[in-house]
């Protein structure tokens, strides 16, 4: 299981460095961490209160099987980590983005992405995160991170990504 989890993490990190979320945690890197001292650079992936740490170390995303929205044991582990982190870092709110691969019709995939995002949200709430900190949105098949037309890419596109922003207290 831990190997699988690592694989998921690496996949996530590759994806992050490749595209959409790079700007997000880049923007948040300043001012979101505690005052730095010693080896820990505030806002960097070493700073456990940073979004970079959340995205890379906790893991910002969970993956799904074809046409499924139930959470695998691996996904639940990642979400357990997310819940713990969110409980500790209460200044953050999150939007959970649900996505589907391209093997499906547009409308259905929008609805399927919504199911996936909601499954992750419900799980986080069940682990103690306040509902008003968690919103969901579905992109259906509109925003793939991998663009090949093979299962290797599809597997990474069937995802729910927890995107943080400095929220309740600004």
């Amino acid at each position: 299981m831990s190997i699988l989890k690592k694989t998921l993490m690496i996949g996530a990190m590759v994806a992050i460095s490749a595209c959409t979320n790079a700007g997000r945690f880049g923007d948040d890197a300043y001012g979101s961490g505690s005052a730095g001292s010693g080896a820990i650079v505030p806002g960097s992936a070493n700073d456990p209160t940073s979004t970079a740490y959340f995205n890379q170390t906790v893991g910002d995303r969970v993956l799904f099987l074809v046409d499924q929205s139930n959470l695998s044991p691996e996904a639940q582990l990642v979400l357990d980590g997310q819940a713990k982190w969110l409980m500790t870092n209460a200044d953050y709110v999150a939007v959970i983005e649900g996505h589907a691969d391209e093997q499906g019709t547009r409308e259905y995939n929008l609805a399927l992405g919504a199911r996936r995002a909601n499954a992750a949200r419900e799980y986080l709430i069940s682990r103690g995160v306040a509902p008003n900190r968690l919103k969901t949105i579905s992109y259906g098949k509109e925003r793939p991170i991998e663009i090949c037309s093979e299962e290797a890419c599809y597997a990474k596109n069937r995802r729910a990504v927890t995107v943080l922003s400095a929220g309740l207290t600004g």
Binding site: T105, R106, Y108, A111, I147, C148
Partner: protein, 439 residues
């Protein structure tokens, strides 16, 4: 169609040949199996002045492209002509057209006066030595000359096939650019043949699935402008838009007009569950029409407004269902192998077009409204989102090619499965919606 033709009839100065009965030899039954295209000739329209020569040639070219594009007609090239048409009112030399095997002959005249364009045409059944129907005259703007050509072609198509025409119509669609993971989308509108593309939105937000109102004056679509998917209505003439629904914590998508033009049916997702709702545009009143924990989406009204066809995965996979427009018990109509989505009711009311996924392939298909006589028209890596021509005989859809360089484009196909062809667009294109015939 008859009313449409009559209302446009302004009358020609000359006496026209009496109408030939439409059960004459010049006839195509487009529901037949494989057919031999009917040869026809469209000489350049006779210009009133030397200044009208070019537009006379352009009009003939578009009329010819409309007819040839159906796959039901084949143009006799002008290089084969024995005689031309130099006088619109002179008797036709049938022998000259028989000799080049032109079964149908379309003649016309064109004159311009300031910004006003006047086109007259006649259709001849060459092998019967007779005119088919009466001559007609259309008047419009010089700028809208292509519409005049489409109206002539619609009349010719209609007289020979007995079906309504579809050339004087438009298509709204999503114009796409950029790679799959950074695709920019904006709404566009064009003539049915790809001419006169205009953009209705910019590409700053994702936009999806535009749908025409029953008279073509407005377009419903989905946009991520506010962050979450929301339904907008846009006035085509003015390019003004407004959001229709903004309930906090929900998203709404997949809108379509009811035939009455003031009710919208759509999907709304709340708490991860997607159901079908209707809204009155004027009052904003929303009514829930399905209440299942499964996905219910892609609703489409029957042309009489009494029923809604939609897709649901309540059985475990995507299938098609029909329910009364007010909601209530739904009847499953798709039973073949695979998954069925994006159902669209034919404007004639007789069929439902759909997207089918089976064994890793996508198909566009049609079936009777009770699910019988399923027929798949296409097969590819990804075909999706059919829309009906105004006469219910042709379907347009989007096809995306496979792989990292995959690109989406528009295609059309007859409901017989014949005449599959790409529709030219300046960039990638998806989510087409065909307008009704224009006034």
């Amino acid at each position: 169609m008859k009313r449409f033709l009559l209302s446009l009839f302004v009358g020609l100065s000359c006496v026209t040949t009496p109408v030939l009965a439409q059960n004459g030899p010049l006839r195509i039954e487009i529901t037949d199996g494989v057919i031999e295209p009917m040869p026809f000739a469209v000489p350049n329209l006779v210009p009133a002045t030397p200044g009208d020569v070019q537009i006379g040639a352009d009009l003939a070219r578009v009329i010819s492209a409309d007819l040839s594009g159906t796959g039901l007609f084949r143009e006799v090239p002008s290089s084969a002509y024995i005689s031309g048409i130099n006088d619109f009112n002179a008797p036709v030399q049938y022998a000259d057209w028989k000799a080049v095997n032109a079964q149908a002959l379309v003649t016309g005249s064109v004159s311009t006066s300031g910004d006003t364009l006047t086109v007259q045409f006649r259709l001849y059944d060459v092998f019967s030595n007779a005119e088919l129907g009466n001559g007609l005259q259309f008047t419009g703007s010089v700028q809208g000359w292509r519409r005049m050509a489409h109206k002539v072609a619609d009349a010719v198509y209609s007289r020979i096939t007995g079906e309504g025409g579809y050339f004087d119509s438009r298509v709204t669609f999503v114009s796409e650019s950029g790679p799959k993971d950074q695709r920019a989308k904006r709404l566009a509108i064009m003539d049915y043949d790809g001419a006169n593309v205009q953009y209705l939105t910019d590409s700053s937000s994702i936009v999806l699935a535009p749908r025409f109102s029953p008279n073509g004056d407005r377009v419903l679509y989905t946009s991520y402008e506010t962050g979450a998917p929301r339904i907008y209505v846009l006035d085509v003439g003015q390019v003004q838009r407004r959001v229709l629904e903004q309930k906090e914590g929900t998203m709404s998508f997949a809108p379509r007009f009811a035939p009455n033009g003031h009710t919208v049916v759509f999907s709304l997702t709340e708490g991860g569950n997607t159901d079908i709702y209707t809204m009155e545009i004027a009052s904003g009143e929303i009514v829930r029409r399905t209440t299942a924990p499964s996905i219910e989406t892609a609703p489409s009204y029957s042309p009489d407004g009494s029923q809604i066809v939609f897709e649901s995965d309540r059985s475990g996979t995507q299938q098609l269902y029909v329910m009364p427009a007010a909601g209530g018990e739904a009847t499953r109509i798709s039973f073949g192998q695979g998954r069925y989505g994006t159902p669209v009711w034919s404007p004639r009311g007789d069929m439902i077009a759909f997207t089918k996924q089976s064994k890793g392939r996508f198909h566009i298909g049609v079936m009777r409204t009770d699910g019988s006589e399923e027929r798949l028209l296409t097969a590819s890596f990804l075909d999706e989102g059919p829309t009906w021509a105004p006469n219910g005989r042709v379907i347009m859809f989007a096809r995306e090619t496979q792989g990292a360089q995959g690109r989406s484009g528009l295609y059309s196909v007859d409901i017989s499965g014949r005449n599959l062809k790409p529709i030219p667009t300046p960039d990638g294109a998806s989510d087409p919606a065909w307008s009704p015939l224009q006034d």
